[in-house]
């Protein structure tokens, strides 16, 4: 139809960076060898794979041997929960992958505040003497709200001291899925203070179905996929060399450009937010005003059916999400928006706009204009 596409859904998926694609290509064709094979060319592939893991580990300040490569963040999360089990604590704004995994165990799900932020005291109040795992995402995928992870981590350390003093030998670990924050926030494990970390490549211009679970030394993982004993026996299956090499390149680039890119997106997002709120004063912006991902804008138009807006925008080349992509597809209201107390009429009018590499000042401003036009057209149609 010749409409220029403006992509505003970087939190759902990102295009593969050309440099990542180039790095991956040889491993599909000439460097196809199984890293476990005994001859020299395969050995080279093994070295390249190990080097890629080394690069990834360095990006988060960890050792390569502490990483388990998986086929996506959902698998990493499942592996973390299955390994630690016991009583688990998480929050009501967490991703479905975490909530579903938590429901497999004895669990307590705590409430977030109205900005989608989980207070450390609320989490710690849910911790019992037999609690083994706390799982809180670094940043919320719908609202972009960044969680006080370091604060939670130090509370977990205190809890450990208390248990030690009380003679309680039950370990307690903090897991975080940082897939939504990586590339915009620091994901250095010692600075985050977590014990387990999930990150995927698909949101940082790397390949999909590619992630790792990092576990601090001393945290015992239980393999969920058994077989040939790859990944130190923790995740069997022939190594996905191309994807892991791509992940390494992607996380390297993300870390190199993180400061510049997050500042750029922060400015763009604020411009877009200002543009929309000025033209549509009844708009409600959700998520924490300060602790929010730079490229994230969650905005609701009360009384409007956001799904209609998505289709109207799609017809004009502007690709946006309603609430969260998963929830939208199932035709149900987002659990996150319910959790932060948005009324149905506000929640149903919510768009999630997430900026990234494809965003420029020009196309973002243009998208803003189109959103305003389509909003006004829809308002006129329903006589609002």
């Amino acid at each position: 139809m010749g409409v220029e596409l403006i992509y505003l859904d970087h939190a759902a998926a990102t295009p593969l960076d050309e440099r990542v694609f180039l790095a991956m290509q040889p491993y599909f064709t000439e460097q196809f060898y199984n890293p476990s094979s005994p001859y020299a060319p395969a050995l080279q592939v093994r070295r390249d794979y190990d080097a890629a893991k080394h690069t990834i580990a360095r990006a988060i300040g960890a050792k390569p041997d502490e990483l388990v490569m998986t086929a996506g963040a959902t698998e990493s999360i499942n592996l973390a929960f299955a390994s630690i089990g016991g009583h688990v604590v998480t929050a009501n704004i967490e991703h479905h992958a975490v909530l579903a995994a938590a429901r497999e165990y004895d669990h307590t799900i705590v409430a977030s505040d109205e900005h989608g932020r989980v207070q450390t005291s609320v989490i710690m109040a849910a911790v019992r003497p037999d609690t083994r795992l706390i799982s809180i995402a670094l940043a919320n995928n719908e609202l972009g709200t960044v969680q006080p992870l370091r604060d939670i981590a130090s509370a977990v350390r205190e809890e450990r001291q208390k248990r030690l003093a009380a003679g309680n030998t039950t370990p307690i670990y903090l897991h975080s899925d940082a897939s939504q924050g990586v590339g915009q926030l620091d994901v250095h494990v010692s600075r985050l203070g977590v014990d387990l970390l999930t990150v995927n490549a698909g949101k940082i211009y790397g390949p999909k179905q590619t992630a790792f679970l990092w576990a601090a030394s001393g945290v015992m993982l239980k393999p969920q996929i058994v077989g040939g004993g790859q990944e130190r026996g923790l995740r069997s299956g022939t190594e996905n060399v191309a994807s892991v090499v791509g992940f390494a390149k992607a996380i390297e680039l993300a870390e190199t450009h993180r400061k510049y890119e997050s500042e750029r997106l922060h400015k763009l997002r604020n411009l877009l937010q200002g543009q929309l709120v000025a033209a549509l004063p009844s708009a409600v912006v959700s998520g924490h005003a300060k602790h929010r991902l730079a490229g994230h804008l969650h905005i609701s138009f009360p009384g409007i059916d956001a799904e209609r807006l998505v289709f109207a925008l799609e017809a004009r080349g502007v690709l946006v999400a309603t609430g969260s992509a998963c929830a939208a597809n199932k035709g149900t209201r987002s659990h996150v928006l319910t959790a932060i107390g948005l009324s149905d009429s506000v929640a149903d009018g919510s768009l999630r706009l997430t900026l990234g590499h494809l965003s420029t000042p020009e196309n973002t401003a243009r998208a803003g204009e189109i959103i305003i036009e389509e909003m006004q057209r829809e308002r006129q149609r329903i006589g609002l």
Binding site: E307, A315, K330
Partner: protein, 345 residues
């Protein structure tokens, strides 16, 4: 302005229906009817995509859009009916039930309640003054599925597509740039989906092995996994192999036996008289006489003499017809008028 609620399934036919009515100056609201679908791991349920497509087209047309949830009613009136009929050894038609019970009853009632003056669907059929007429595209005509709808309901119904052929409909949808213009037509029974009727039924009825018996010789040819899964005239899926193909000529539900033959001329396979029960007339009952009948969707019309036997209708055919299974519907026409019909006893 006349308010019309259009049943929009997310397919090209109902999309164009809404577009045409809007162009004709009606105040159009699109409605997606959520019917019952199975939600099993490993089975992709297409309704969310269809709902999104229907809504996309509504947004494109700038019309209101609603979702009516008929899941429970649909399950009782259509799905359970179908399973029960199969259990009785009959071959029911769920699409006919869906039109009778859901689209032209529940949907009509709900739409009127919500302020509609009329409803419309993307069926290939025509209505004139509450009289149901065959579609101009005789190849696509869907009146077979509509014979159990009441004249009263039809008087409040619009079928704009009845005037066009399917290729024209696709072309018109393309010309209007409708999102669904190139979408593939749906196949088979909606809630059964791609798994097929056999797999669908086997979730609800126990598979009990029984004998497949040669009708002529009385010889046991093999075993089947439940007489319920077999229909008169059926050739495939018998698994007794070798030589000439076998056809199902009868079954005994009580004994769980299926009778087959290689003789295509077997008297059971061919009938020249049909007895119909559960007779429904769209308007008034026709007088005795010669009419045209259709024994399955898209089957050619054949002539038959209609007589009554109490509540039942007896049809005497000029030529014998093959595979007339009980439970199937026979629809009766007077020229282009669809009068009604009944279910083969």
């Amino acid at each position: 302005m006349t308010k019309v609620y259009v049943g929009m399934s997310g397919g090209v036919d109902s999309s164009l229906t809404a577009a045409l009515l809007k162009e004709q100056g009606y105040d159009v609201t699109g409605v997606y009817m959520k019917n019952w679908t199975q939600d099993l791991p490993g089975m992709k349920c297409p309704w969310a995509d269809d709902l999104a497509d229907a809504k996309r087209v509504a947004v494109q047309l700038g019309i209101d859009f609603k979702v009516y949830d008929f899941e429970n009613e649909y399950k009782h009136k259509v799905v359970e009916y179908m399973i029960d009929e199969y259990k009785l050894g009959r071959t029911p038609n769920p699409d006919i039930m869906c039109n009778q019970e859901v689209k032209f009853k529940l949907f009509l009632e709900a739409a009127l309640e919500d302020g509609a003056d009329m409803i419309a669907t993307g069926h290939y059929a025509r209505v004139k003054d509450g009289v149901l007429l065959q579609a101009v595209d005789t190849n696509k005509d869907q009146t077979y599925f509509l014979y159990r709808v009441t004249g009263k309901a039809l008087a409040k119904t619009l079928f704009p597509l009845g005037e066009y052929t399917k290729p024209t409909v696709r072309k018109m949808a393309e010309e209007r740039g409708l999102f669904t213009a190139a979408k593939k037509d749906s196949q088979g029974i909606c809630f059964v989906g791609k798994v097929g009727i056999r797999e669908f039924l086997s979730q609800y009825v126990q598979q009990i092995p029984g004998e497949i018996i040669d009708k002529k010789s009385g010889k046991i040819l093999g075993m089947h996994d439940g007489a319920i899964f077999y229909t008169l005239g059926q050739r495939h899926g018998l698994d007794i192999g070798g030589g000439l193909p076998y056809y199902v000529v009868g079954k005994d539900m009580a004994k769980n036996e299926v009778y087959v033959t290689t003789d295509l001329n077997d008297a059971t396979l061919w009938k020249d008289d049909i007895r119909l029960a559960s007779v429904h007339w769209i308007n008034q009952a026709p007088q005795l006489g010669i009419y045209q009948i259709r024994i399955r969707h898209r089957a050619p019309l054949v002539s038959a003499a209609l007589t009554y036997d109490g509540e039942n209708v007896v049809l005497k055919l000029n030529d014998e017809q093959r595979a007339i299974a009980s439970g199937q519907s026979v629809v009766i026409y007077d020229g282009e008028i669809c009068l009604g019909g009944g279910i083969i006893v």
